[in-house]
Symmetry: C2
Subunit: 228 residues, 2 copies
């Protein structure tokens, strides 16, 4: 560790790009290579592979075959889990102190959707499958389809062909702000910045199954008004 009195040969590791994000995604529950790729979009596959190898060598990630012995899975080891705690602390710090004015270009709809998916409260939804279409407006226009069942949840980046039960339309940046707890969901709904369309029963239930980011409750420590 750099914090120590000695200087390691490789000042690598958490200093390297992507590594903390990969640890975050592992800690959040992704275990397959493809899941990790979704949770850390924009990372080249070659780098994800390389980083996972490094983390395995360092003893922070355990690579093993799944129950059927077919496909590889990645899990945090004890040291990896402890490091994940630090990554979360970084996240909290970011939520408290990070710059408030966000460049819309920096918000990634894919990652936003992937993160939101993880927090969705399936047991607040009806028994039968619900298909929700998300229309992201703004600089990066994009649509997603969520198939929500009690036992399973999947995201598509193309229309799956099922009947659409509900369409949620929102500007990507707005949705990001709500997701991060910077704008109250109720306010955005009231102002029709986020518009759920469909049967009343579903649109009304929307706020109950659409949970926010884990950091959303943490308030910003930066005054919103002044510019210094």
């Amino acid at each position: 560790m750099e914090i120590s009195v000695r200087y390691p040969k490789q000042p690598k590791f958490f200093t390297q790009r992507w590594t903390p994000l990969i640890l975050r995604e592992l800690g959040a529950g992704s275990h397959r290579f493809s899941e990790l790729q979704q949770g850390v979009p924009r990372i080249p596959r070659s780098l994800l592979s390389q980083r996972l190898n490094e983390l395995e060598d360092a003893g922070d990630v355990d690579r093993r075959m799944d129950a059927e012995g077919k496909r590889p899975e990645y899990h945090l080891t004890t040291s990896g889990q402890e490091f994940f705690g630090i990554v979360m602390a970084l996240g909290e710090w970011g939520q408290r102190w990070a710059n408030q004015d966000i460049d819309p270009e920096d918000v990634d709809p894919d990652l936003l959707m992937w993160d939101m998916r993880r927090r969705i409260n399936l047991d607040k939804l009806p028994e039968q499958r619900v298909t929700v279409q998300f229309d992201f407006q703004g600089v990066r226009q994009q649509s997603f389809w969520l198939m929500l069942e009690r036992s399973e949840l999947s995201v598509c980046m193309f229309d799956p062909g099922f009947e659409i039960d509900m369409i949620v339309t929102a500007d990507t940046l707005t949705l990001h702000k709500v997701w991060m707890g910077r704008t109250p969901l109720q306010e955005a709904l009231r102002d029709e910045l986020i518009t759920p369309e469909g049967p009343r029963a579903l649109t009304k239930a929307f706020p109950s199954w659409f949970a926010l980011n884990v950091f959303a409750p943490i308030p910003s420590a930066v005054s919103q008004v002044s510019t210094n």
Copy 2:
């Protein structure tokens, strides 16, 4: 913050080399440019300057003039202090999990002395000034002189000319291991790996004023025996 859903233009900051070490040194109580340089040896002055500017721009470090309004001082802001907490958590993690076999080349006598100096318990020393010479043996042979007074403490890298009250001789790596809590001080003294020479009163008091690294009490989580 990278941990969030957005990708900042500059994935900079704590990812950058030296930045966490500078924050550590600031948190440890160094405020002058020259102190920071000593506490973060091997950093080019130009980079230290650059990093301090970046940290100031980010609002994590406050640069101001000292009481006499003569020389600049650097202090952590609130956000900087909170980040310092994370840096300390990184340090703890390192102490628990970092590789046990240390390359002697990686241990920096300058930094070791600078760190030890900070923890010395001055009120466990006699009233009058005590001059202690430290002889570091091993790959990087080097000597230091500590002038210890009740009110002040200074380190020299050359013989200050005062009468030497005590000479402590030790291999640099051994001293590092003791400093990090990996080898008990009493054991190293008993085995004469660390040899304080001088008046009995002083050598006997040595363990009382020579305090270890803050992380020393944290045990390693890595089994020392097995090699996997």
